[in-house]
Amino acid sequence: MPELALLLLLPLAGAVTFAFLGASARAPEANAAFSGFTALAAVVLAIRVLAEGPQLAMRDLFHVDAFSVLLVALTALVGFTTSLFSRPYMRNEVAAGRVGPTALRLYHAMYQLFVATMLLALTTNNIGILWVAMETATLTTVLLVSLYRTPASVRAAWKYFILCGVGIAQALFGTILLYLAAERVLGGGGTALLWTQLEGVKDQLEPSVVTIAFVFLLVGYGTKAGLVPLHNWLPDAHAEGPTPITAVLSGLLLNVALYAIARSKVLADGALGTPLAGNLMMGFGLLTVVVAAFMTLRQTDVKRLFGYSSVEHMGLITFAFGIGGAAATFAGLLHMTVHSLTKSAIFFAVGHATQKAGTQVIDEIRGLVHTSPAVGWGLMLGGIAILGMPPFGVFAAEFLLLTTAMSAQPWAALVLLVALAVSFAGILWRVQAMVFGAPNLKPLLHRPAILPVFVHLGLTLLLGFYLPPFLATWYREAARLIG
């Protein structure tokens, strides 16, 4: 499959190129070009998987099915649009003297490497390599979080590094235990960690070992997905890094962590024959939604505010996967898609807004709609969309989740509704104040990238009232794989 090779090698080649030329005048355009071609490869791969079914490549080292290719396509697409946004954003940062040539080189190289590691995590067939790719994804972003070298950013990056490092070590222990259970059935050597092999024998795995393994995997990858009480690193890392990195952290990396959890759940369900894995995920998910919703009420920094909103949505998706079954999993997958699109659109708008205001403090950003209507309306519409207002896609996903929860876990549905209402109050009036209100902003040297914002919002709007048949089949197929 040449498109799979391209998908993984293009961003890698980009990373190597930018390690040398990342500060050159045309680097932002080259960054977008690499990301654009990666997205193209992802589309071709998705078409092939949808038409021909799951694909194996390179002696079973890589495996792509409907579930992983959904996230591959999403990752490559948002990676591309974010690179378009990053173009004027980073130029403005350079113009403002916040970023020097070395930092710019690091930024462009790590951006591509980060995308490469996420795509590797999604396409590998080996759950050990999945772990390695997740760890590398942390390492590539940690220096970007502290790119500005301010005390707050160094602090945030250290926290991110240590907490995610410890968290992901738990996931490694879970992987080791899974290997122990698998080795007894499949024999030693390299094949016992291959997903395609594991899935075939999942009902023969030793339940007692798999139970402990799943708990470690959930805690480990849950740290990366920002599940409460392991979410502590997330708002800081979101607030302090350059905004394009915030957009991809929030829109993409969290999804990849959830992907690992969803895969682990399939094995746990198969081995245990009990709903233990689902119940654990529902518990974590619910706690996450509630805590994050109340935390949005106390935020004064706009990027932290939306960081907590991401935590909340990860909780919702974890809860949906925890319920399991066709409808809830469908809702979870749809939610992943629309959350990525909406949240990255919001961060694009927020990025330009904070550049205009010269601060991230919500109270000091006022009247966006007067100085730059497009950014203002983008933020307003994005805010409405992420809060689950119809007709946007988040509404469709949340509605589907709540109706399923209503029949499966009625009490939990009630708790979710309350939490959603709380975060509604927490976010809406803050966004409204930033968008309307008396203007206090200065113009930017490089025109903001408006197109990605509205492309994303347009797509979520479309998904809100019309799900194309091919996409519905795609979601159903993916839901069947992990439901």
Binding site: I129, L172, F173, P229, V291
Partner: protein, 223 residues
């Protein structure tokens, strides 16, 4: 009990000892030495396993830990400690006896958790899983109790050592490709840590992570 079994048990016991020694050690240079000693013990354990089973990949794995954990990482850390002029630093530890007691409780927890798992494993090192898990937890405890960034990193690397020992003890190590990937990650992590030390120092004029915990007013609060 065969000679190899006794040898492995001895190595495992020594590993547990080094983990406790790290909890109590106040000098950074001595901490690095202990970390290198753990590397030596891991290499030895892997070699014994390789000798007993005759698996070629275990010899390779032993070589990997020898190079990475005995030579490269400790050298890197020693150089960093010198460059940052921390050789003579003594860290003030809060309440070492309590930390030790908590450590003992962790060891008991680890053995209880490991018992049902190691019963399923067929390796000669299976009894050592409890110790491996205990050293992971002890390293974790060390990361919590320390204030200096460098000691936290040493705790992180010790935790990775424990995990590596766990993998060797229950399954004779992970598949080679995964082991190589993990080794690469650890190496990259060590470099990133190194860059970080300088950034922290440059920003805060100290490597004390207490600066990393307090947040200026008005930035919001965490749970």
């Amino acid at each position: 009990m065969s000679f190899a079994n006794q040898l492995v048990d001895l190595i495992a016991a020594l590993l547990l000892l080094t983990s406790f020694a790290m909890l109590a050690q106040r000098r950074l240079t001595a901490l690095v030495d202990l970390l290198a000693l753990q590397g030596v013990l891991l290499t030895a354990a892997t070699l014994v396993a390789a000798w007993v089973t005759g698996h070629a990949h275990l010899y390779l794995s032993a070589l990997l830990s020898l190079v990475l954990k005995v030579v490269v990482l400790p050298t890197l850390l020693r150089r960093l400690v010198r460059r940052l002029d921390l050789q003579w630093d003594r860290e003030a530890l809060v309440n070492t006896p309590t930390t030790m007691l908590v450590g003992i409780v962790l060891v008991i927890v680890a053995f209880n958790l490991a018992l049902p798992i190691s019963a399923l494993s067929g390796t000669i090192l299976r009894g050592a899983l409890g110790i491996a898990l205990a050293s992971v937890l002890l390293a974790f405890l060390m990361m919590i109790t320390r204030r200096k960034a460098v000691s936290q990193v040493i705790g992180f690397l010790a935790m990775e050592n424990g995990l590596f020992f766990a993998a060797t003890s229950v399954t004779y190590g992970m598949p080679m490709i995964v082991e190589l990937g993990i080794a690469l990650d650890v190496l990259v992590a060590a470099f990133v840590f190194g860059i970080f030390f300088f950034r922290i120092r440059e920003t805060f004029d100290s490597l004390d992570t207490r600066h990393l915990e307090t947040r200026p007013a008005g930035e919001g609060e965490d749970v």
